[in-house]
Symmetry: C2
Amino acid sequence: MEDRAISKLGYALLGLLQAKPASGYDLRKIFSSTAMTTYSDSPGAIYPALRRLQQQGLIRGNVEDGAGLRRRQVFTLTAEGAAELRSWITRPVNRSEVIRGLDEVMLRFAFSEQAGGREASVGLLKSLKAELTSYLPNLHQQRAAGKATMPTSGSLALESGIRSYETLLQWTKDALATFARQPHASRRPKKGAKS
Amino acid sequence: MEDRAISKLGYALLGLLQAKPASGYDLRKIFSSTAMTTYSDSPGAIYPALRRLQQQGLIRGNVEDGAGLRRRQVFTLTAEGAAELRSWITRPVNRSEVIRGLDEVMLRFAFSEQAGGREASVGLLKSLKAELTSYLPNLHQQRAAGKATMPTSGSLALESGIRSYETLLQWTKDALATFARQPHASRRPKKGAKS
DNA sequence: CGCCCCATGTAAGACGTTACATGATTGA
DNA sequence: TCAATCATGTAACGTCTTACATGGGGCG
């Protein structure tokens, strides 16, 4: 239960394990076959990451020795792991994350509902929306400032960044609307099985 | 002139030096003050990266000892460096870059006009557009497939990814239109080998 | 004089990438 | 039997992060 930092890959693993216990190999397959291909499926990254998480007490591994199968270790999230995941997810979005770590924010959001229920998702969206709203004028200013000095491709690149932030802002609004439309009934999974 | 790989930061430095010779400190300021804040302005990253580029013969450093100033080394792109930059920029965009390395593609594009003229920019845009067009149906499929199994926040996260790719595709079309509107006059700073 | 900006650098440590290694099971 | 897939791991390597170190120059 040491207290060192957890990498993005580490959080991705925690989030997946929260949904369903899995082996390292299962996790690799998820990374290589789904939309999570952004993450590395290399054993040299995953197995050491799992070991670190286990040393920190965030996951627990159980060796499956059912049949005459080769040893296969299935990892489960511990209570500490679930707490760590929740605290990572509910932490407000700040400027530097918007600039350098949007993918991590989206990862947080993807796991938010299972980890902290509707409220967690909505909270994260609001926080992201606020940060985007305060950051965008900044970019517009840079576009105006650089108009003269930059080559066409340079200012187009900046334009692309601006558009992607605007699209994201619109998405946060739509996502908030989606949650607003949903019944306010307690959708919060306390323990174990999900729908 | 060893032949090892160049990191993203390395290319960012080459691109900036192509526009204008600069010292390590100048480059750090660019990273910390402009829209290029995505790149680290830490000396522990930049100075070693510059040294590597110099060892590869891609840049050359000249110590300025004009006044009684403290030594200040100004780096310039060599011919080899310019060639390397061009080859990086003109290399076609592939699937894995679209998935994991869009920021690097945008970096390439930002530098493309100065490095290889209008044709380089247009070529890169076309390549990106083709790759996006072939990748997007893939994501739509995943959305359809996961609709049942994913929690709301998960599918919304995927939706965000899809939208950002669609926005980018629209941007490539607009950018191509921008270049099409520009005069075809030779803006190319290099003697033509390709027709 | 003290403080901040210029300007460059090094050292320790963590993480991911690539490549290699191992071995069991299943199917052709 | 050969190949592929399941399943886990290690070793070397490079790069970034964080933090520290150094030292001159300008300014109040």
